[in-house]
Symmetry: C2
Subunit: 330 residues, 2 copies
Amino acid sequence: MDYGNELAIGIDIGGTNTKYGIVNHRGVILQKGELKTDIYEKVEPFIDALYEKLAPIVDLNSGEGALKGIGIGAPNANYYNGTIEHAPNLNWKGVIPFARMVSERFGLPCSITNDANAAAVGEMSYGAARGMKNFIMITLGTGVGSGIVANGQLIYGEDGFAGELGHTIVRYGGRKHPSTGLLGSLEAYASATGIVVTAKEMIRDSAEPSLLRDLNDELTSKTIFESALKGDKLAREVFRFTGQVLGEALANFVMFSSPEAIILFGGVIKAGDLLLEPTKQYMEKNLLPVFQNKVKIIFSELEEADAAILGASALVWEMKYEDSRFRSSL
Amino acid sequence: MDYGNELAIGIDIGGTNTKYGIVNHRGVILQKGELKTDIYEKVEPFIDALYEKLAPIVDLNSGEGALKGIGIGAPNANYYNGTIEHAPNLNWKGVIPFARMVSERFGLPCSITNDANAAAVGEMSYGAARGMKNFIMITLGTGVGSGIVANGQLIYGEDGFAGELGHTIVRYGGRKHPSTGLLGSLEAYASATGIVVTAKEMIRDSAEPSLLRDLNDELTSKTIFESALKGDKLAREVFRFTGQVLGEALANFVMFSSPEAIILFGGVIKAGDLLLEPTKQYMEKNLLPVFQNKVKIIFSELEEADAAILGASALVWEMKYEDSRFRSSL
């Protein structure tokens, strides 16, 4: 089949900004834009503003091919219900029937899922996971998110919230997560935030001279990485330890779903081999022999700035192969 | 559709004994039997012996309905390839094309999977998971096995070996597993073997008077349970701790695949509420709020003696809904 002329709208809703784009089947963003999210106290005027921004683009591009629908990635989005539920970083409280509202405003089918699931779908459609039927996407940013694909399908679970691997416990009785309160969860170590905590602990507990000691308020995963590039031993140890915890967690995930690959995405992967090498090493060390030397750990192939839009848009291509659940929000 | 007359053969291959039965769609075992596994040094004479045992039963029951095929549960069985691979508890070494060999000997389609996956299929067909599309089966016996169902399908993963949750790490740097060497894996705590280790540790580390102190070589998960029933505090603490570790592990699994239920199976569940209550408590405690008070933990509804045969037989019903992979071993 030739899908060449079909187009999809991808929308990535973040706490501060919302980005959108019109995307074709090859994953080319034909046109894109953004608007503020946090200036809208209520959801209705936000959807109106989104429509006003997008309507001219929709008109412009409707000559190129059929617009098939709208895909949305958003925090705390429930794929089954089309809702955004109690999202702590959005102004709109409670349970919002977001997909239905967008669908009615635009007159197009709409599918919604959380950010990390959208990233996984994007990677499967346009990125490093093309052709894969079993993989796990781990997003390493301010937080740690995940999307799990098995048998060629995203795992949504019974309630639509499956794939919260950032909140699995990797260090029993370990570091307390600042917002969930869980002890020793992956996100407390492998997020950009967790990396800074690790650096602070190492500065405190080690006598080693280090560039990190002078950074003070400037201590971020980025400046720690820059220090590591300059050969700073403590900074390199921060990434080695982060990779160790991540690798140990990945071993657990592999023994769950035995994927072909684990795809890492997000700001933290800029650390490159400093992170990847220990991650691989400690994953292998914690696997049963039957799983060893099988699972690739690879970095996302999508540009971070575009990935969220691409991932959201790819939800639209999924619609046509799937059952009516994808349109139940209509 | 009326499947009433269709029959399936279920075969459960264990290290010592092999059990088999002819099963109908309602999960009734019409006839069953067993033979020794470990007296056969080679696999060919074992399959011959199996055929000789089953041929008369097949003849007897062929009047009742169509015999659709053979399902097998076996250690280290690979569903995709139809092979048994490097099973430590079987005499037959290397990679054995078991499903193909059985299929050729019997002239019937044959499907094979590991014991815990077969148990999950059995529970879905005849037991506590009837109608469920998302659940996790945990078998608590000498070891800890698992079968994971998501979107109504067993998760086999890229290589056919998915679902080794007994080997995921729940206590970082914890108890060493006697055969895998992994530190702190679930199986080292929640298996019948692990429960005995816990009891020995508690006897050593506590000054509490306890019936367990006199058991010596008789110390088994069964005698610990009997002591707990008599009100022995230390014995009760053994199960509380086992439930705690299991519950914490289950929380991790829930955040992976968000199942409707977790089904526990195997000898260890005879401990009943002594195990179930702490398991529930610690699972809930380690879940994000979005997952709390949603996931049922229930005991298998299948008789343990029959469950393995039923589970293996249920693989046959799966064949007809699925693609040709199930028959590739023919």
